[in-house]
Amino acid sequence: MRLVSTTYTIPKRDGCPSENEDHFFPYLGEIRRDHHSVAIADGASEGFLSRLWSKILTISYVNWDTTDVDMRLFIDFCIEMYEYQRSRYLERREERAAPLKWFEEKLMAKGSFSTLLGVSFEDSTPWGGCWTSYSVGDSCLFQLRYNIIDVFPEIDSTGFGNSPELIASNPAYNKELLNKVRVKSGKFLYGDIFYLMTDAVANWFIAQLEEGKRPWRTLDEYLDYDREGLTMYLTSLRDEGRLKNDDVTIARVKTLED
């Protein structure tokens, strides 16, 4: 099995790339032969170091690389990674003689928050195999085989709000987390395409599906031939109020036979 991914991300309008709190992994188009997973995450804008947290979640998910994730262990591992990176960040601040301000201290004590959507593939038959996806929050996965045949989590275009479920870097806020983890498995045939999207663009995509349109065609054309055009297209959707002004991340994964 070969997995080929195409990824795209832009920050919200008026934001610069360093302020984009979405993250995806892997970065490379051809996914490493020993890896079978892809993940995206949407760091919450209310948190501090959310960009770091969404990065840790996605990279860890892909390196975990299994269709059977023990979420409790996984999150404990991510929190450990976060704590290590956080202490390094504090050291760097001290080295620069820039101690934390009162509001940074407070936010850091509260921690960071992010959604997570990951999918792992297993090639168990000559024609394809199984996929399993874990999700916390409102990032969405779509499976395409001529038409969209699966959407996970199941959500309609009115179901996106401002308070999705989130994974916290501070265990105090993760008490009910394991009840919020959604898991779905399915089968794929070689040639199936999977799209992972953070909430704003997923919301637009689902609204298009509800209108009987084929939004993946638009995305595919732009992703393959005109990435600048995709940015202009999404900007025009924002201007028209059809796309929420939020960070956008799209990861497209093609499942191919060896």
Binding site: D14, G15, F103, N245
Partner: protein, 277 residues
């Protein structure tokens, strides 16, 4: 209406008018300790802290809001202390950077294992309690009108500014209704300026929260504050409902005979802009 995105390119403003008359030295109705002036100062400092935290990111505080606090008592003046003294509207990043002082206060916080522990947490102070003189509410509203007019000139498409007046007594400088109406008629392209009123309890009269008529208001002064209060936009109404308040489509941004818990809830609901980008 009331749907404009709040961004650094299109910020909005919150303006608080705080009664600093002599009667604010009295305790809340039915409560034995603590003056209203001290409790309101704590509530405003707490709110300013929350506004800063809402806008703070790893790279700094984003200026989604500009905030002003005007005190009225023996004088009508901007009520910030320290380096912000004398300033009308201040970007939230400047507020974050320049508290008068940062105190340590005990607070109960989750321990991560289902329990709580007592910890000292930082509590920044920008605004100190004052209780002196009469209640020149009309003049304070005039000052607010002029500040908001200046803001709207520079930000014609902003989420409409929110003005919150907190008082425990009747105005001593004439009828403020006309000025209040004039403030509520000001507008950005996203809707009219919102004026909310919070009356602090010093009696045992029943509390009235977000009324949609004057039916249960006890006197002329309560009716006046009702008339001076905007009908709540749908989004804020939903926020209030989610906090357990009983809301009607015509509910106004007004609480009569409030206690401290309601003051804090009201300030939070009135400033809980969710459309930050």
């Amino acid at each position: 209406m009331y749907t404009a995105e709040i961004s650094r390119g299109n910020p909005t403003c919150f303006l608080f008018l705080i009664d600093q008359s002599g009667s604010m030295e009295d305790p809340f109705g039915g409560e034995a300790t603590g003056s209203k002036a001290v409790a309101v100062a704590d509530a405003i400092n707490n709110l300013l802290q929350n506004l800063v935290l809402r806008c703070a990111k790893a790279e700094g505080v984003r200026d989604y809001f500009h905030v002003g606090v005007i005190g009225y008592g023996d004088k009508i003046r901007p009520a910030f202390s320290g380096e912000l003294r004398g300033k009308d509207l201040v970007p939230i990043s400047t507020i974050g950077d320049l508290p008068l002082t940062v105190e340590e206060r005990p607070q109960r916080v989750p321990d991560g294992y289902g329990g709580f522990i007592d910890q000292n947490v930082k509590f920044p102070i920008w605004f100190e309690p004052i209780a002196k003189g009469p209640t020149p509410m009309k003049q304070a509203l005039k000052k607010a009108e002029s500040i908001i007019a200046g803001w709207l000139d520079g930000h014609p498409d902003c989420f409409p500014p929110v003005v919150i007046n907190i008082s425990d007594g009747e105005p001593t400088d004439g009828d403020p209704l006309e000025v209040a109406e004039s403030i509520m008629e000001m507008e950005s392209s996203d809707g009219n300026v919102l004026l909310f009123n919070l009356h602090l309890s010093s009696s045992t009269a029943p509390r009235v929260e977000f009324p949609d008529s004057k039916r249960y208001l006890p006197d002329e002064f309560a009716s006046l504050l009702y008339d001076m209060s905007s009908i709540l936009p749908e989004k804020i109404r939903e926020e209030a409902e989610s906090e357990g308040f009983y809301m009607m489509p015509e509910s106004r941004g007004f609480i009569f005979n409030s206690d401290m818990v309601k003051v804090i809830q009201f300030l939070d609901i009135g400033t809980r802009a969710t459309n930050l980008r």
